[in-house]
Structure formats: structure tokens, C-alpha cells
Symmetry: C2
Subunit: 364 residues, 2 copies
DNA sequence: CGAACTAATTTGATCGATCAAATTTGTGCG
DNA sequence: CGCACAAATTTGATCGATCAAATTAGTTCG
């Protein structure tokens, strides 16, 4: 037999379509006895309402869209991976589906929005970054389409812009600050910062947290000397670390795991060189240490300490905000009311402390 | 004004709904003059047919589903990232959308299929692995749901199973074989293989390619000694590489980038140790070299040679197979006929040769 | 010129749900 | 008992497209 529909179930049960529909969408309108009888029949027949029919009538697709960027810069792409999974999971358990799409540019992205809204009737979008004068967010706002961004819009380095749309972000400065505190507790005092080029506000934010923590610990004077910029690659990290070591740094906080990876290699090399040539150059303090950012799988694999973003929490919150916004228009499908979720939320990262792989003993 | 519909456009143009529908779905049925007039109006009004209405009538959602696994084992997850992007892009340009979902287990995955088929009416699924007695593929086949798998079903190590469903895979053995040939050309002769545990057929396949190439080059006798197994981690790679070096290997082919990363670190360490203590142990032949598998971003970042899978091509083919199968039932929406795509396809990987990052000069 | 066809276009029904309004059932109370 | 009013249920219309069948226009040809 084929898939049951409202009508087929209704005639079997000798009730009307609408009653069954009500059991599903407004149970309080149905007399308890009937409700239970219908619910039992629904379960027995394995009835599931057709999303297409529902969408046609309600103008709701119960689907969110997200643009998938081409395999990102490299090592750091893993964060988006986790984000995507958490987003899918959160959407699913809220009764929504997630559709992916690709775009060549921001302009093309807007064209895709238009198409996806018209054709597939998507209920909202998730963006993974935005700037204050972002054409995409402007377009979405003007059109009144629900959306939420993972990432604050920045006006310029260090100056978050005020935006009226929902966003969730991770407080990078708090992360580097915590990393410095961890290193201080370990006995380090000459803690360097290795970031990518100045212009980027996200990088500036991370640098700022380091600076703040250094100043608070009384090492503010070292800030100019111990802050280095390099290309965001492993090679850049190695070069930058070399420079920091030559300036006396015994620990380095980095704004990415790529940089940290390079820094770690370089520090290991320097240490081995020192050991080999008998120079106790660095042997005075604790072993040199590197902290990365994003806690990518590579960091875990290599035993690199790193600042972890709570992306799963961010994803869940984004879904919370979007579903809340949509529940406002519709007479609450699954919203259990409650306090509205914060439209703009800054989450604190955490420092994952690891000890580098030994690799020492040759053989087993 | 609101979104145009068939009916609204029809009355504006003084033609019937069906004529417009025909212009879109069966242009040959419409007189050229009318067709052009209608097409112009469609473009002018920005008319786009509603997917929900279409789906309700045609029982086609123009959507594929794919299960998203939780952030994979680590470094190697990047391959799926690229695959997913390519899949989205290919689906999009074929007029299909891609929906993600999560599942706790294979059993739960089947439950999700059922739900997604009933509720959202998905047209097909993409799986990212399968085994010969896979409950999921069996369920899908019994139900007649179109699907395609990225990855062959293996009966046991080295023995691909015959399956009747479509799949696309990458010939791992051909990859390791090519890697060996590259190393031979570079002057290496003692080329080791470092793989993960024996049971896994994918790993066995990769090992087999190495073995074949070694035998072909006349080094078959070394095979038992130069093949090592280790846990698929960086630490495992380091340990395995140490063993291989102790057996005289000057180059190592690995079945993953994780292993290769560990091996590379270990080889570098050994080399430096040898240099420091003045032992010309390894200085006779070419510098020791490692080749990884999957060409992950980490490999690129570190200058690690690696065997690259043509995942983009695999994704495109999967979409080709699925759309072809679906076009068979429907009177060809966009299929340009042509020869049917191979239902089962084995693609050749390529070896990406890199020179390791120097990291040598301390400071600048 | 009109019968016999084919080509082009139109009409009514349908996919499976929800909305809004109408109807029936049930309850309280003067 | 019966009227008013709320609770429970049902009915008809609708969302926007396609299908299948009916209608009209246009050709060919004896």
C-alpha cells in the first residue's frame, strides 16, 4: 500500500482531515479521547505530513540555507567543518532541514538567495562572516529575510560595528588572554604574540587580548618588541617564531594553528640546536611553548596547545535565534515560548592545554 | 507586487497556464512565436516556478540527501570537505539541491532516509562508504531509491565485492604504485610502506599497490621487511618510520597524511641526529622522503608529498549517475541524453610532489 | 469545399496539506 | 425544558504547479 495521506487516514478513522491536522498542529483544540485515538492511528500507519503540501499552503519550507565556501585556506577549514555538523544537528532537532549552495562571489550569493527564496522558499540563511557594509546582510535585511551570522561585523581593527541583525561570535581576545594567563602560571614571562597581517580585525582582536593580559601582568613594556606579524602559513610561523626567540621569547601565542605549527617546529629545532651545541641558552626557564588558535585536528594530532572555539554552541544558538524569529510570525510550531534568545552573543573560547608529542625515542 | 505565479503571468499575457508551463518543460510543443513572447515575459517578470507546487504534483523534490558524519578522525577529514563542496556545486548546476542530515548510527541513518523520503520527498542519497552487506544499501535498493556511493564495497582486504548499485571510488593501489615509481625515479630503492592495521580493505589496497610496484622493480624480496603497520596517528607514524629506518628504508609511502606527518618528523629528527653526531649513516643516497595519502591541507602546508584523490571528479560523476537515473523515469528535464555514465567507476589518483619546508635558517 | 489529420492551446482535475468559516455537539443555568 | 454560548468537529476554498483530456486552429488533399 502507498503512503498514507491526511485524507486516507481520515476516512479510515472516520474523522475529518482537519481533525488530524489539528492533532498535529494544535492538539489543544482536539478532545483528549479523539486526540489519543488519532495519535495511535498516526503511529500505526506511520503517517508523516508531506513537506511540499505543507509548504505550498503555509509558505514555510522549514529549511535553512548556507553557502559552502570552496575548501578554505587550509588547516583552519576544520572549524567550519565542526560548525556545519553542529548546525545540521541543531537544525534537525528543531525540525528544520539544511540546504547547501555554492556561489562565486558575494554578488552571486545574493542571486542565489533570491533564487532559493523564490524557488525553494527557504526560511532563512546562515552566513559565516560579514562586514559592516556587507551587501548581503543589507539585501537580506531590506527584504526582511531571517538570517544570522557566525562572526561579528567589524568596522575596523579592534572596533566591532553595531549591527541590528543577529550574530554569534567567539571572543578571540578573551581566548588569547586566557592563553597568556596559562603561560604565566607555567612560569613564563616573555610571552610573544605571532599574528597575521595587521589589517584583519579578527587578528587584531586576538592580538589585543594578548596585549591586555601582558599589560595586566606588568609586562606592558615588552608588548612592542614581542609582537610579530607573519604570513598565515607554516613557513610564516617558523620565521616569526625565529624572530621572537631572538628577542628572548620563551612562549608564543599565535592567532592560528598554521602559524603555531610553524612556530612549534622552529622552537623544537632551536632547542635541539642548543642542546647539540651545548648552549644552555633556553634551559633556564620552562621549556618553550606554543599556543595555537582554533584547536584544529592538526593541533590535536601534534600535541599542540590551542584556543578552542565553542562552535557547537555557536551553531546551536544560531538555530535558536532563527527558529525563534520564525516562530514569531507563525503560531508557534515547536517553540516552547520562554525567554527570547540573545540576538547577539559573544561566546568565550577555552584553552586546550597539551604536551607536545615526544617523538624522542627512536624505534619503539 | 508579490511573486508572479503561472496564473498571474498567464492572465497578463492572455495565454493559459499550461502554455507557460509547456514553454518551461516542453518547449517544442509551443509555437515559436508564442514561445518567445512567453520567455520574454518570464524574464521580465522574474518568474520562477515554485518547487513546492511542482513537487506536490510531480513527486520530485529535485533534492539529494547526504549524511554528515561528526568531524572525522582528524587530519583526513579534509577530503570529505572537498567532496562536499564539489557535490554541492555539481548538484546545483544540474538543477538539484543538497540537503544534509545527521545520524547516530547506520540504523538511525535508515530511519532518516525513511523520514526524508516521506516528508521531504528526496530524490536520492549519496553515501560516503559502504560494505558488501551494508544494511543501508540493501534498504535503499529494496525500496528502489536512487543512490550512489563514494567508495567501493569491499568483501575483505584486497577483494572488492560485486555490487549492483552505482559507486565511484579512487584506485588507492594505483596511487601508491605511482608513488613508488616516483621514488624509484628519484634514486630510492629501499622504499618502505607504512599503513594502518591490516583488517581494513582500503588500507590493504594501498599496501597492495606498493607491493606490486616493488615487485615490478625487482625488490619483491624486501616486501616482508619493509612493510610496517601502526596506529593511524602522528605518533604511530613516527614509531613506524623509526622501525623502517632501522631496517634501512630511505623512503616511506604512507596510507594517510597523519602517518606521513609523524614519519616526516621522525625522519627529520633522525637525520639531524645523524648530522650532529657526524654519522654519515643516511648520507649515502638521496635525502629520505615521505609520501602521504589524501593530500590534505596539512600536507600542503608542510611541503609533504602526497597522493591526491580526484574527489571533485568523483563528486561530479556521482551527480551524473544520479541525475541520469532520475531522468530515466521522468521525461528528461535537463538530460541531454548522450551515453549513460558508468554506474561504477574507478578513478586514478595522482602523486603531488613537494619539497619539505626548509625551516633551516634560524631567524632571518 | 469539406473531411481527415496534426499542431497549438485551453480546461478541469489533482497532488496533500492548512486556513477560515460553517456546522454539530456539549454544557450551564434561568 | 430550552436558550445561550463554548467546545469540538467538519466543510469548502486555496496554495501553485502538472497531467490528461478536450477544444480550437491550421494543413493537406481528394
Amino acid at each position: 500500500m502507498s503512503r498514507p495521506t491526511l485524507a486516507s487516514l481520515a476516512s479510515e478513522l472516520a474523522v475529518s482531515r482537519q481533525t488530524i491536522s489539528n492533532v498535529l498542529n494544535a492538539p489543544h483544540k482536539v478532545k483528549p479521547a479523539t486526540r489519543e485515538r488519532v495519535q495511535a492511528a498516526i503511529a500505526a500507519a506511520g503517517y508523516r505530513p508531506s513537506a511540499a503540501a505543507r509548504q505550498l499552503r503555509t509558505q514555510r519550507s522549514m529549511t535553512f540555507g548556507m553557502r559552502l565556501f570552496p575548501a578554505t585556506d587550509g588547516i583552519n577549514g576544520a572549524v567550519l567543518d565542526r560548525f556545519l555538523h553542529a548546525l545540521t544537528e541543531a537544525a534537525q532537532s528543531a525540525g528544520y532541514r539544511l540546504t547547501l549552495f555554492c556561489a562565486d562571489s558575494d554578488g552571486d550569493e545574493i542571486r542565489q538567495y533570491e533564487e532559493l527564496l523564490d524557488v525553494a522558499g527557504l526560511d532563512g540563511f546562515i552566513l559565516t562572516s560579514s562586514s559592516p557594509d556587507d551587501a548581503r546582510t543589507r539585501w537580506l535585511q531590506e527584504r526582511g529575510t531571517p538570517f544570522a551570522v557566525f562572526g561579528r561585523p567589524w568596522r575596523a581593527a579592534g572596533h566591532p560595528a553595531v549591527a541590528s541583525h543577529p550574530w554569534v561570535d567567539v571572543d578571540g581576545a578573551a581566548g588569547t588572554e586566557a592563553a597568556v594567563e596559562m603561560l604565566l602560571a607555567q612560569g613564563h614571562s616573555r610571552i610573544g604574540f605571532l599574528g597575521w597581517y595587521t589589517g584583519d580585525p579578527v587578528g587584531a582582536d586576538r592580538r589585543h587580548g594578548w596585549e591586555r593580559a601582558m599589560a595586566a601582568a606588568g609586562f606592558g613594556a615588552d608588548v612592542p618588541l614581542l609582537s610579530v606579524e607573519a604570513e598565515d602559513t607554516v613557513a610564516g610561523g617558523a620565521a616569526g617564531a625565529a624572530l621572537l626567540v631572538s628577542r628572548g621569547a620563551t612562549a608564543v601565542v599565535c592567532s592560528s594553528d598554521s602559524l603555531a605549527l610553524g612556530a612549534m617546529e622552529k622552537l623544537r629545532e632551536v632547542r635541539q640546536g642548543a642542546l647539540a651545541s651545548g648552549q644552555p641558552a633556553l634551559s633556564g626557564g620552562p621549556p618553550a611553548v606554543v599556543v595555537g588558535f582554533d584547536d584544529t585536528p592538526v593541533a590535536a594530532a601534534l600535541g599542540l596547545s590551542s584556543i578552542a572555539q565553542p562552535v557547537e554552541e555557536a551553531a546551536r544558538h544560531i538555530i535558536r535565534v532563527l527558529t525563534h524569529e520564525l516562530a514569531g510570525n507563525a503560531p508557534a510550531a515547536r517553540s516552547v515560548a520562554g525567554a527570547p534568545p540573545a540576538r547577539q552573543l559573544l561566546l568565550a573560547p577555552s584553552v586546550v592545554e597539551r604536551t607536545p608529542l615526544p617523538l624522542a625515542a627512536p624505534g619503539r
